[in-house]
Symmetry: C2
Subunit: 200 residues, 2 copies
């Protein structure tokens, strides 16, 4: 129901009616509404990890594994857009924690798997990188960010064929990491402009 109508639109009484109970009974299983979403989010991330592992298992060559899992992540997100939104961009509990953060114990392994995968690629392909961990972040952020934008509508209008953008992104990333330019050690704050570097 959360996936169909969104978290806010689903009322506890509606859930109760769906399962043939009164809404009060739900509080014997969950401390509050938010924890229902947290439970579901945990399952979603579990599926995401399963998906990641299944794809990785099919591709022994690291480079192909990197490509396939990157595509797989995006496919998974666009296949379950509302779940993805609920997990990472959904409501916060009274402590300002989102479900994705709350179950970070589960989410972290996914990211760590990816970092390991990228290290494998760097070794196997002899990538000329020095800061592999930063480059790994770059790749991951790019893919994850792309998945996000494809799931959340209205950020960018008139997007062409999504698959094309995904492939172009991966191809561009790959071309980029093969060169992996030395960072220019640029000083952002060199210009005496007004306040920048706000860090929230």
């Amino acid at each position: 129901m959360f996936a169909d109508r969104g978290y806010e639109a689903v009322t506890l009484r509606a859930i109760a009616k769906e399962i043939g109970y009164t809404h009060a009974v739900i509080y014997q299983h969950f401390p509050d509404k938010w924890h229902i979403l947290a439970e579901l989010s945990s399952e979603t991330i579990g599926l995401l990890i399963q998906n990641f592992d299944a794809i990785a298992a099919k591709h022994p060559a690291p480079k192909e594994r990197l490509f396939a899992t990157s595509r797989g992540l995006i496919q998974f997100c666009t296949a379950h857009p509302q779940q993805f939104r609920n997990v990472f961009f959904g409501p916060e509990n009274r402590n300002g924690i989102r479900a994705g953060q709350y179950i970070n114990d589960i989410g972290t392994p996914l990211f760590q798997r990816f970092v390991q995968l990228f290290f494998d690629v760097a070794r196997d392909e002899g990538l000329p990188s020095r800061d592999d961990i930063v480059v790994a972040h770059t790749w991951w952020y790019t893919i994850f960010g792309l998945a996000t934008l494809m799931v959340i509508q209205g950020v960018v209008p008139d997007l062409p064929d999504q698959n094309l953008v995904v492939e172009q992104t991966i191809a561009t990333l790959w071309a980029g990491v093969q060169v992996v330019p030395r960072l220019p050690k640029r000083a952002v704050s060199k210009r005496p402009g007004r306040s920048s570097a706000a860090k929230q």
Copy 2:
């Protein structure tokens, strides 16, 4: 107040108290709570465009303009994280429209500016691209997605220096677009796996 505490946490009565009125008075100026956010979002996007133009004006060389506006977008987003979230990931109105979509008339110019900028870069630098518009999307999505992940906490744990990731991303993108590999025309659906290509 929305920027401080978040949309849901701010009650209309709290707003009314802040301005020294009753909450009923607000409905003489806005049809509902959501439209207050829409109005503020409109201002936010206006600032974003101003910011974009100001940065662009300072950099006559297209390549530097591309770099500077890319950094500027991310800086703006991380400097106003809650506004950014409210605009693009905030609540939907009863028609399922987010503020960012609602004021798309304002948001679209920003994207179009960027596309034009990228075309300038491609011409000026003699980029070997064929599908400039797709590559432009790629760059834009990557930067925008990166900004998103830096604003929404909890998606990726243990991020290293944010500035480093930004610079690495831009450098990688730049290295990539200078090569701009021919897309492999990969057939995602070649493998007979189960349902993919879900398009929401």
